[in-house]
């Protein structure tokens, strides 16, 4: 019962914040809304017995990625002004098409769920499900290779950043 209530509250706030991000005039507003969105998602993860994921969501996403965005928005692009939507080159029918696509996505999702999903009742879960122990077990045995590759991706990203941000004479 409580879970349902929390779910609905978190869901509404998440959607509202998402809309704010998309529609905000000033980037700073969008960043703040994004943080809120991420936190709500963390709550939702908790509702899904994905504790480790929730932690990660908050620490990595809300903690690091958003901070990066903040840096750029607040400090690095100070000389550049945000665009006005009615200025600049006009893309023909972009917005209407986008809205149509968004609606299409929603319809598809609903349709797919309605037609294809034979959902049984959600089973109960063992106590350890979603815990970091279980997660670690899976990660380092069955999914060892993807894990290593992910490390490689991060390495490449680090190298890329260092290179791109080097001092030029």
């Amino acid at each position: 019962m409580l879970a349902n209530v929390i779910f609905w509250i978190a869901a509404v706030i998440a959607v509202a914040m998402a809309v704010t991000v998309v529609a905000a005039k000033r980037p700073m507003h969008a960043v703040v809304a994004l943080v809120a969105n991420f936190v709500m998602l963390g709550v939702l993860f908790l509702l899904l017995h994905a504790e480790f994921l929730a932690i990660i969501e908050v620490i990595v996403y809300a903690g690091a990625v958003v901070v990066l965005f903040l840096f750029v928005v607040a400090l690095l692009l100070t000389g550049v002004s945000a665009p006005r939507e009615d200025e600049g080159p006009k893309l023909l029918a972009q917005t209407p098409l986008a809205i149509i696509l968004g609606a299409a996505i929603l319809c598809l999702a609903g349709f797919a769920v309605a037609i294809n999903l034979t959902l049984g009742p959600t089973p109960g879960v063992p106590e350890a499900f979603g815990s970091i122990t279980l997660f670690g077990e899976e990660l380092f045995t069955t999914y060892l290779l993807p894990f290593e590759l992910t490390a490689l991706v991060l390495l490449v990203a680090v190298i890329g950043v260092v290179f791109l941000a080097r001092e030029r004479h």
Partner: protein, 101 residues
């Protein structure tokens, strides 16, 4: 009573659609980036929901990887955005049309 799966899927779809529309409609590169983040998060939600439904940790692993890659991508992407728009007047991706043709 546990929350039904469809609720999560529905929420996920709505978030994904919002993100998609955001990417297409906004001209500020930073906002576009954030919209993409929203899309990623929607997908993460789907994975976690199904992991819960089928009691399979694989979904969590996938979320983990998506988060990692998204983080790396944001890092690089933001640097590029900074470089490209440093000398410009306006944060408008539509002004970057030199690859036309």
């Amino acid at each position: 009573m546990t929350i039904p799966l469809v609720d999560f899927l529905g929420l996920s779809a709505i978030l994904f659609a919002i993100g998609a529309v955001g990417v297409l409609v906004r001209k500020n590169p930073l906002i576009m980036f954030m919209s993409v983040e929203i899309m990623w998060n929607a997908v993460n939600l789907t994975f976690a929901a199904f992991a819960r439904h089928w009691v399979n940790m694989a979904g969590h692993i996938f979320v983990f990887i998506v988060v990692t890659v998204a983080a790396a991508e944001v890092a690089i992407g933001l640097i590029i955005v900074v470089f490209v728009f440093r000398q410009r007047e306006r944060l408008d991706v539509d002004e970057l049309s030199s690859m036309k043709g």
